[in-house]
């Protein structure tokens, strides 16, 4: 495996399956009364968050602590105007403190790339701008694999995954397209034309504007969070219109095949991209995704810091 996890597009199929299989083993730790392994004792993991994201930060923190790593949470109030300390100086500071891994969330696409050039330790991308969020894609793949009863070593061949929403600004969509395609799934992106990149031809997926046509052919439907302020930039006329055309309500849920599942990376806008009844339905994996996130992030930390041989 690479030293860093910056982009899902950098992962090989073999690496990805190793992460998912390792996560499967580590998930069993969560069922024990004492949810802790000594693997990363004495190693330091820094959660460097330039953007507020309580759920991702907590997930990484729980993952690192279950592996007995020392965790430092470094929350920087993200303001590009009043920059204050530069990203490079922050990196050098963490370097001097002996960080073995830096988990970074940043509003600027590419910030983890820059950090990786300045740090000796591993950099794990916990979401950079509109670029990528690779651990989200890994936990989504893990969740899909489990729900469809596939076990260790198995990929997602033949499964049809439909991702719906603001693809243009979504790091979750980007990471999932690369990773799910790598694992053999057929990915379809659904969005209003304004919320798709203008040149999406090279992506390994199909694209459509029609949610209703895609639903009967979907084993997985993944709803992306829609930011209501996009309306002000004329990406869509109103939240209600968006919800009518691209929201997953109970009627649309009925169009899905019987065993299809509904995913959402959170946080949800209930009543906008997803109806409350759908979010709370048995087909929804939203709560499982959160639990699986810890297992997958444990696997990533374990494999990047513990080394491959320790993973065997």
């Amino acid at each position: 495996m690479n030293r860093h996890l910056i982009s899902a597009a950098d992962l090989s199929k073999q690496d990805t399956l190793l992460i998912l299989d390792t996560a499967e083993e580590l998930a069993r730790v969560a069922d024990r009364p004492i949810k802790k392994l000594p693997t990363l004792r004495g190693r330091t993991v820094v959660n460097l968050f330039f953007e507020d994201s309580t759920r991702t930060r907590i997930s990484f923190e729980a993952a690192a602590k279950r592996l007995s790593a020392d965790v430092i949470n470094f929350a920087v109030k993200g303001s590009s105007v009043a920059k204050g300390e530069s990203l490079k100086d922050t990196a050098l500071t963490l370097e001097a403190m002996g960080a073995d891994a830096v988990v970074v969330r940043h509003s600027a696409s590419g910030a983890p790339h820059r950090l990786a050039g300045w740090l000796r330790g591993s950099v794990i991308n916990a979401g950079d701008g509109s670029h990528e969020h690779p651990t989200q894609a890994l936990l989504d793949a893990f969740t899909i694999r489990r729900r469809f009863g596939r076990g260790a070593g198995e990929a997602l061949d033949g499964l049809r995954v439909t991702i719906v929403g603001d693809v243009l600004h979504s790091r979750v969509a980007r990471s999932n397209v690369w990773l799910l395609h790598l694992l053999g799934a057929e990915v379809t992106l659904i969005a209003p034309p304004t919320l798709l990149p203008v040149a999406i031809d090279g992506w390994p997926c199909s694209v459509s504007y029609d949610l209703d046509a895609a639903l009967p052919k979907s084993d997985v439907v993944m709803m992306l969070r829609i930011q209501q302020e996009r309306m002000n930039a004329a990406y869509f006329p109103s939240v209600r219109e968006y919800s009518r055309r691209y929201g997953l309500d109970t009627a649309r849920l009925g169009q899905l095949p019987e065993d299809a599942i509904v995913m959402h990376p959170g946080p949800m806008n209930r009543g906008v991209e997803i109806a409350a009844e759908v979010a709370d339905s048995p087909r929804s994996t939203i709560v499982e995704q959160v639990a699986n996130g810890v297992s997958v992030r444990m696997a990533v930390l374990y494999l990047l810091l513990g080394g491959l041989e320790a993973g065997k």
Partner: protein, 429 residues
């Protein structure tokens, strides 16, 4: 004054000739001219002689950002790149929007003495895009400003642009437009296309440049004035300019060396050394720009030399400054992109990097032929040299060269400004 005999040089890449410079003027050019007694002799065997290069688009940063560049360091960089005249863009601090500031820049250029500095005046006060700057005062000043530009920002208000184009007709001025529709490029980070979609960086669409160019060509035609388009970067812009020129309208255009060589896939590194405005485009655009420069649709090469201190580039992409240095690599990049590809001969290079920009910039003492009686502004260039670009060796105060580490052909050996060497043996004279 001194006399120089430049022996065996190849003017415009032709057969060897001796060029004699006497008292700031070319006194003889050809074979068999007798060397005057006491003349200094420069053996230029194998070197190409070109008229001193003229840059229509340089950011010298002084006054205001002397940490990035000064008129002293910027003009030395220009001389080392083979330039004998540069147009200093107006986006300094304070902005060059008055006779006072433009005269100061002009005087500092004269004091430095490495090349002529021709200030460009702002179109609007403070580059704010709301009120016209005092064009007449700048034109009548010692700096004799003829080119006006809000470069860095677009004169997006159509009425203001129309009035500016009309007003400068009174003293044969030209408006140099930075073509960028502001609403279409809010927060834009890179060319909008395949790469921006993958990298999650907000797109700067080609149409934002092309729409303004089309509008301004029509405005220039309507009022019968001269429009110059800065740093053309897209294949679509080339088509519009070709159409405007076919109508006989007074439209000229420039292209930067970096847009002739580099493409937007370099942004995948997220290294802001590749961040520039307008952004690097696609290979299709590069090919169209090269063809347009070759056929004359694009009149000239201009560097858009934009120095920035390290801390403004050693950041995450979104907060990094736009711009690249270019004076010291321009001729080498043009050789790589245009000459070695067979698109342009050395006479063409002289036309696109000296004669035409001098005409557009209304400079009478530059861009002249290498002929007796003409000003002794010339550059001697070794096209057979080849080396990796190392910004640490550059005279520019800044190091943000996107060509760092690339192996490029050519080396400027000597530059003469009115008969006086500013560069000899590739070093400041």
């Amino acid at each position: 004054m001194s006399t120089w005999v430049i022996s065996g040089a190849r003017p415009l890449g032709g057969g060897p000739a001796d060029i004699i410079l006497t008292d700031g003027t070319i006194s003889a050019a050809g074979s068999g001219a007798a060397a005057p007694r006491g003349a200094q002799v420069l053996d230029a065997t194998g070197l190409i002689a070109l008229p001193g290069l003229v840059d229509l688009h340089t950011h010298l940063r002084e006054p205001g950002r002397e940490d990035a560049e000064t008129i002293e360091t910027g003009t030395l960089a220009a001389a080392l790149g083979g330039f004998t005249a540069v147009h200093a863009m107006a986006n300094t601090d304070p902005v060059a929007d008055t006779a006072g500031v433009t005269e100061q820049i002009w005087r500092l250029g004269r004091q430095a003495g490495h090349c002529d500095v021709q200030p460009v005046g702002a179109v609007t006060v403070g580059l704010a895009g709301s009120r016209l700057a005092e064009f007449g005062a700048m034109a009548d000043s010692a700096a004799r400003v003829r080119v006006f530009s809000d470069d860095g920002r677009c004169v997006s208000d159509a009425v203001l642009m129309r009035r500016a184009l009309e007003y400068v007709k009174a003293f044969d001025g030209v408006i140099a437009q930075h073509a960028q529709e502001p609403r279409l490029t809010e927060g834009a980070q890179m060319n909008e296309g395949v790469a921006s979609g993958r990298l999650g960086l907000a797109g700067w669409p080609a149409v934002a440049e092309e729409a303004i160019i089309a509008r301004d060509c029509l405005l220039a035609a309507h009022v019968g004035s001269a429009l110059h388009i800065c740093h053309v970067s897209t294949a679509g812009s080339v088509e519009i300019i070709r159409w405007a020129k076919s109508k006989g309208w007074r439209v000229t255009a420039e292209v930067t060396p970096h847009h002739l060589l580099l493409t937007d896939d370099l942004v995948a590194s997220y290294d802001p050394v590749y961040k520039v405005n307008p952004p690097l485009r696609t290979a299709t655009d590069v090919a169209a720009l090269r063809a347009a420069l070759a056929d004359g649709t694009i009149d000239c090469v201009a560097t858009d030399h934009a120095p920035h201190p390290v801390e403004d580039k050693e950041t995450e992409w979104a907060v990094a400054a736009h711009g690249m240095t270019g004076l010291e690599t321009a001729l080498r990049v043009v050789q790589e992109a245009m000459v070695d590809t067979g698109l342009l001969g050395w006479a063409g290079v002289a036309d696109r990097m000296s004669a035409r920009p001098a005409v557009i910039g209304r400079l009478t003492g530059h861009g002249r032929p290498l002929a007796p009686g003409e000003p002794a502004n010339l550059v001697l260039y070794d096209p057979a040299a080849r080396s990796a670009v190392d910004p640490a060796t550059h005279a520019s105060r800044s190091r943000n060269s996107p060509f760092a580490g690339m192996t490029l052909p050519g080396q400027v050996i000597a530059t003469f400004l009115r008969g006086r060497p500013t560069v000899l043996d590739g070093k400041p004279a």
